[in-house]
Amino acid sequence: MITNFPVQFDENGRLRHFLTIQGLSAETLITILDIAHSFIDFGKREIKKIPLMRGKTVVNLFFEPSTRTRTTFEIGAKRLSADVVNMNATRMSTTKGESILDTVKTLEAMHTDMFVVRDHESGSAQLIASHLPDYVRVINAGDGRHEHPTQAMLDMFTIRQQKQDFSKLRIAIVGDILHSRVARSQIHALNILGVREIRVIGPRTLIPTNIETLGVNYVNNMKDGLDNVDVVIMLRIQRERMDGQLIPSEQEYFARYGLTQKTLNFAKSDAIVMHPGPINRGLEISSRVADGSRSVILDQVTNGIAVRMSIMAHLMGG
């Protein structure tokens, strides 16, 4: 498995970068969740700082807009005592890898210790990681349609917080699986952690062909898809997909695949509702459900800080 992404590990098999969930062991994922757990109470302390990354420089390099991911990385790094620089850069997609590497090399020459990278192209974080010296760490904060591994980890953390044992869980992921890097990372993580069943639900136009090869079951309607599930993960529908080719109309989409109090009743009575945010109220989820008692959407945001601290600390130590 490791050979898929050798750049993620050093010669001793230790995790050096955090680029993809694929190829990670259950043990590694659990370690990250355990360390994150010990950071959770930390936010309630008088002085929210520990010296693990004192003197280190973290550059948040975002070629795509982001609020919660960038902010939680920034807060997390600062709580670990790192110095943080935010770069909200734009680049032409036509210049491909060259300009991004130039930017990174320039920042590396300023002795950056860690890059947190988001880009609209799949594989950008990996490209950057493979062009940097050994001591520099790279974290993928979302690359194109490929992966968003730290989001998946905070989702796993939130699920474990609510449901404890992964092996008993049925999980449904609803919406635009085709364009979702979040879904891809979640599916890998859930499989590695050994959940009982993963279902993906959505219109066929938004589901990758051969999705079953990822170890999931496809269901085309909410009634059957949510039947007996413990966790409902809603994905954000990009409004730009609403041009009529992939989705007929907002109203029709919401009627068929939107999560409302009524459709949520198909799931187990104690099922939790998750969403990576930002949510489109009335498009993929109703306000009543998003703000309701079964929603853990804001827990996901809070947990994001502890989980990202854990990943940064894990890469930095040893």
Binding site: I30, T31, D34, I35, S38, D41, R45, E46, I47, K49, I50, P51, L52, A313, H314, M316, G317, G318
Partner: protein
């Protein structure tokens, strides 16, 4: 060995109990220090719950050895602002653990005072840190490691020869 550890605990308890510190708050350092602090807490009869510290996040060798995934949550039962703290550890050696513990304590607030009680004070300080209450003293060289262990609620002490590069 067991009797000397029991004597050391009695010694330490006697010193802590007879100190003039007003309304002290007892805090043990994970893991051995918590064992010792639990015994003191029982013997002396503090009204407040025992505090515990896991100093993993404050260690100065983190970048060399990494994080221990078994980090235990630190637990302080009350606000430490203006309190008189008695910090308890099993073995005082280089002083680095105590340095890290002091840093962690100060991230919770500003205590009025901190005293240090240790079951075993051994040779080998690398920092200007001293203990106020001492169970027993051991004269060991750098090749020797004193380690407290707990077996069925009984504390014991082992002294092992170690390779310095592993220290």
């Amino acid at each position: 060995m067991d009797t000397s550890i029991n004597n050391a605990i009695d010694n330490l308890a006697r010193q802590v109990a007879s100190s003039t510190i007003v309304n002290p708050l007892l805090i043990g350092i994970h893991t051995g220090g918590v064992w010792v602090a639990e015994l003191l807490h029982q013997k002396i009869g503090f009204s407040e719950e025992l505090g515990t510290l896991d100093i993993s996040f404050y260690r100065d060798d983190f970048s060399r050895v990494g994080l221990n995934p078994q980090v235990k949550a630190s637990f302080l039962p009350v606000r430490i602002e203006d309190r008189n703290i008695i910090l308890i550890d099993d073995v005082l050696y280089t002083g680095r653990t105590i340095r890290a513990a002091l840093n962690e304590i100060f991230s919770y607030g500003r205590p009025a005072s901190v005293k240090l009680g240790v079951l075993i004070k051994r040779t080998g300080r690398e920092l200007p840190i001293q203990s106020d209450f001492i169970g027993m003293e051991l004269d060991l060289d750098i090749h020797q490691q004193a380690k407290l262990y707990r077996d069925n609620d009984k504390l014991g002490l082992s002294v092992e020869e170690v390779n310095i590069s592993e220290k």
